[in-house]
Symmetry: D2
Subunit: 356 residues, 4 copies
Amino acid sequence: MSSIFGNKIKVSIFGQSHSQAIGVTIDGLPAGIKIDFDELQAFLSRRAPGNNEFSTPRKEADMPEFVSGLVDKTTCGAPLTALIFNKNQNSSDYKNIMDIPRPSHADYTAQVKFGGFQDVAGGGHFSGRLTAPLCIAGGIAKQILKQQGIEVFSHISSIKDVKDDEIDKVNPDLALLTKTVNKPFPVINDIQGEKMKETIILAKNNLDSVGGTVECIVTGVNAGIGEPNFDGLENRISSIIFGIPAVKGIEFGNGFDSTLLYGSENNDEYYYDNEKIVTKTNNCGGILGGISNGMPISFKVAFKPTPSIAKEQNSVSFKDKKNTKLVVKGRHDPCIVLRAVPCVEAAAAIAILDLI
Amino acid sequence: MSSIFGNKIKVSIFGQSHSQAIGVTIDGLPAGIKIDFDELQAFLSRRAPGNNEFSTPRKEADMPEFVSGLVDKTTCGAPLTALIFNKNQNSSDYKNIMDIPRPSHADYTAQVKFGGFQDVAGGGHFSGRLTAPLCIAGGIAKQILKQQGIEVFSHISSIKDVKDDEIDKVNPDLALLTKTVNKPFPVINDIQGEKMKETIILAKNNLDSVGGTVECIVTGVNAGIGEPNFDGLENRISSIIFGIPAVKGIEFGNGFDSTLLYGSENNDEYYYDNEKIVTKTNNCGGILGGISNGMPISFKVAFKPTPSIAKEQNSVSFKDKKNTKLVVKGRHDPCIVLRAVPCVEAAAAIAILDLI
Amino acid sequence: MSSIFGNKIKVSIFGQSHSQAIGVTIDGLPAGIKIDFDELQAFLSRRAPGNNEFSTPRKEADMPEFVSGLVDKTTCGAPLTALIFNKNQNSSDYKNIMDIPRPSHADYTAQVKFGGFQDVAGGGHFSGRLTAPLCIAGGIAKQILKQQGIEVFSHISSIKDVKDDEIDKVNPDLALLTKTVNKPFPVINDIQGEKMKETIILAKNNLDSVGGTVECIVTGVNAGIGEPNFDGLENRISSIIFGIPAVKGIEFGNGFDSTLLYGSENNDEYYYDNEKIVTKTNNCGGILGGISNGMPISFKVAFKPTPSIAKEQNSVSFKDKKNTKLVVKGRHDPCIVLRAVPCVEAAAAIAILDLI
Amino acid sequence: MSSIFGNKIKVSIFGQSHSQAIGVTIDGLPAGIKIDFDELQAFLSRRAPGNNEFSTPRKEADMPEFVSGLVDKTTCGAPLTALIFNKNQNSSDYKNIMDIPRPSHADYTAQVKFGGFQDVAGGGHFSGRLTAPLCIAGGIAKQILKQQGIEVFSHISSIKDVKDDEIDKVNPDLALLTKTVNKPFPVINDIQGEKMKETIILAKNNLDSVGGTVECIVTGVNAGIGEPNFDGLENRISSIIFGIPAVKGIEFGNGFDSTLLYGSENNDEYYYDNEKIVTKTNNCGGILGGISNGMPISFKVAFKPTPSIAKEQNSVSFKDKKNTKLVVKGRHDPCIVLRAVPCVEAAAAIAILDLI
């Protein structure tokens, strides 16, 4: 079930970086959902490359074509399939990957798993390009959730050692978050944003790359969503988030930092806010026992630095069975965190919609 | 599918802390596996409470009874079911939880989800006690993996701010690890271990609790295990690990720390070690594109401090619909990290066996 | 997923005919369902052997013990597990099956699949005894469905060439059906029932066996239940029904007979009965496009004659690698159709509850 | 999971009769399978309409476009997606279905399930047209199975009361079957075939329709394929077969006829044919306990008469809430059995490939 996610709503991703098309099928959407295509396109453009100096110059219009599942732009209960036809690929850039695997890419593992039959061009099915169909599904999931009062926001939380301000996990400022996610460089604190940009440009100029973290918050989820044990919110969200390339870690609430606190500091005490039971702090990230407690759901994701760097690296030649040098060609993002922000939102929206 | 994990091998956990029995059914085990019950019992005793001053004095023999799936202690291809009958419970300790939820426990979320019908005694199905059947399944999975040359080791990586030495991710010392996991307090560096114990005792004496991290390494996994996208090693391991109570984060390889490095620092360069392709570093934790690269698989898990503390806390009364104070009765681990170590191994073993 | 059925509600069957226990875990039941244990026991006794001359004299109390999932006889949201401990087995009867497979039993296929490690005693996991846990789950499912106005009835439709009256598929007589299912020999027409009994006794006296069909009707299912394509009512019901041993065919509505009609004869025309849309005939068995149309759901199941017969048969010896003769020892039902009637109800109830 | 079938190999069908495209994604195919597109096209043309007087004159080229999953016509391990773009639709024919449901079609059940948002044109997602993507997946599955020595053959077994010769279930004649399936009217006995044609034409001339049965045999499956309980060959094959529109029954081996035999007649006795264990008869259809016994797998499927008939029928008007008359417009097959033959092969091939 490697490329299919979900129980009630199944999201099936297909395509390779340079195949004729990439796309997604969503099975199980309720009928009667009118899709706002302008809003969807606006969401998709947040991950599209080629908009600025921080991402690959490869231009992708990323205009999906919907071939099934809709009548008059409204879901009809049948599986919804959307395609993005690939253009502007330059497969010749990737010829030597077949022989010399790029460090920290999936080239070698794909070679072993698929016995040399894998599509190497552009990373094939492992490409970050496959996050485009994920964002189509996620953008639709976001619209459905929004109708239920649920919103999903992400921002760049850090680039290397430069940190953005944190989202208030107890009382997130929706206006601020809405503004933040729509910035070309989605940070709360623009001064820190400028430092991040400098960090990225410095890496780029050094033929190198950097990583960072993305913080995500989901507001408006009622208490009682999720399941105990293996289908809890944390299980399901982490399960889809690790489907985004370059993710190496995830933490909910204050996550790894909670290990530094005493129980009395980390526990989120309850009180009545009028009729509603809320907590004073939100160290648990809105999740207890896998189930939402009505507070905002909060998590943070670690993205490793882009493995594609222009610097010469050591690798091996399968053919010659000996060590060799590799210079990765093609143009790559010196930092994929910027474009990963909407992907994190998309993944979270899909996971939560599937559980509701 | 909340209490069932796995695709090829399905592990189904059942029971509540104070129900007549807890147990596990494993569906899909190959036939003909002879189970070493002494080894299994030794593994289970690593998580059993009551062995020392750092865990709850509730004594659990945790001797599983196997009621199906075996002929002459050997798997027969039918689902294997093992039970642990509960004894020594004191349900009266939990009466007021029904009305006053313990902060950072699942009491409130269970109340909302199950409408007051949930079993509150001892945490019900959310109890850490449910990790006993997980360890039965995991202990069997470990035995099967070991026959294939795969071993799983975990140790306490930190308690609060006290850190153990790290496992060498490139060339782990199997003899050292074997010795470590079998220590009553499983750390590599016993001096640090003593400091950890002091930290725990201090918390306990303050009617408080602490958390920590567990590091896990899996050796002997060939390259090519795992799937792209949503069924990769990271997706599957995280999906089961978050089924262990109190887990709030997971990271693979150098995880969140990778975000602080340049790509040129973080990339794991390949070279031939005789005929075998290996990497100089193992920052990716043995996983690229969701698939093993033949290096040890490495990850770290964050456990929050035990939410059950003896200190008075603020909470609410459902019945009275107002704020109130709560003193949690019963005896609880001041730190569950110690007992979580074999649970992490069990979960990893199950996830990996399911993917092989 | 061989021994687990269901999507929303997962029924996991475990045990072998002669293992320490057989049982079932039901994951996903709503919390707050009070189980009527007397009614459940009455249902289970309908499939229990030893009640009459038509079934094996092996006595089974079949009193399930519930070890988890309940608080005060009411579901608590955690997986419900029930066990039946096996007694009164005589495994020595089965020793030669290990070498000489019984014709039309699963002995040979199990030998190939499980490489000689399978549990042969009493048919192991393939035994009809495993329908007891299916009936526990089904009996509970029936109680939940009944609270929603849905009832499931089955009767012996034929034994060899002796046929019972058919259920009226358009306006089934609930009082008649209730009476029928509770008869020791559940047929509508008792005269035909007597002929069936004679047929069974004749076969038994000839050291032979007979088969037959079971008709099932489900009343009170609203229109709109089921899914298109692969998760329709027919797909799901057939999928679980073929989990009952000895089933070789299933047909919905008028099934195979529909192939003998013209479309104009077979089509079920709609009309308004007051405010409700109903059909004049019910040849489709209440299912169109996999989805219920509000009419009773109707299907018929074919059970082959019991393969265990006392007559000498030809078979092979694995050990000697040559042809040999076999006389099956042990006491067996000369006709399993009688005891299969509640199993069909149980399976239907589980499949429908899972889809609702 | 309504439109997705399979565990190891997942087949996801999408599209509506008149949507922009219909298609299929196959996830989990092994890498390195070279697809013979000529053979695939020849297989697809067996279900294509418009070839003769027995099927709808709507012409469908049904040339699939493969947009992902292939490199040089060879599977690359990524999900394979193929599309057929719809042309030549005439949606205006279907306008009144929105108000007046066609008897024995899914119009009414879809209306209830999807609340009026369903795509009614051409039957939407319920259309027989969706068997085209099923046949793409099945045609590929057949090619993979053939490389393993497994072949799947179907023929028209009956049209109304006219019967074709039966396939020899013990020693099927592969040359005869190969010839049969490639006939424009796939029957073994052409004289009976002529009578069937006459039956269809008579029905057509009477503005009516007829149904029939399809017999399928799968040769070359080794003993040991399939699982006990709910994932046996019968469970899985029936589960996908009922995904083909108009199927109302399935039986394995001698199926319902087995209920008319004594156990001693129905049992398939074993003997050694040289080194190989075989059976003298094959009444079980090659399946015991859900697992193949090495004999040919045999089953028969009942197709109801096409519900779309040109005769005036009684129905209801949703809008007016009263009874009304309906004349179905559009051109429809007077008998869909002919075109269903390859669909049955496709479904069987997918189910078996998924279990191997």
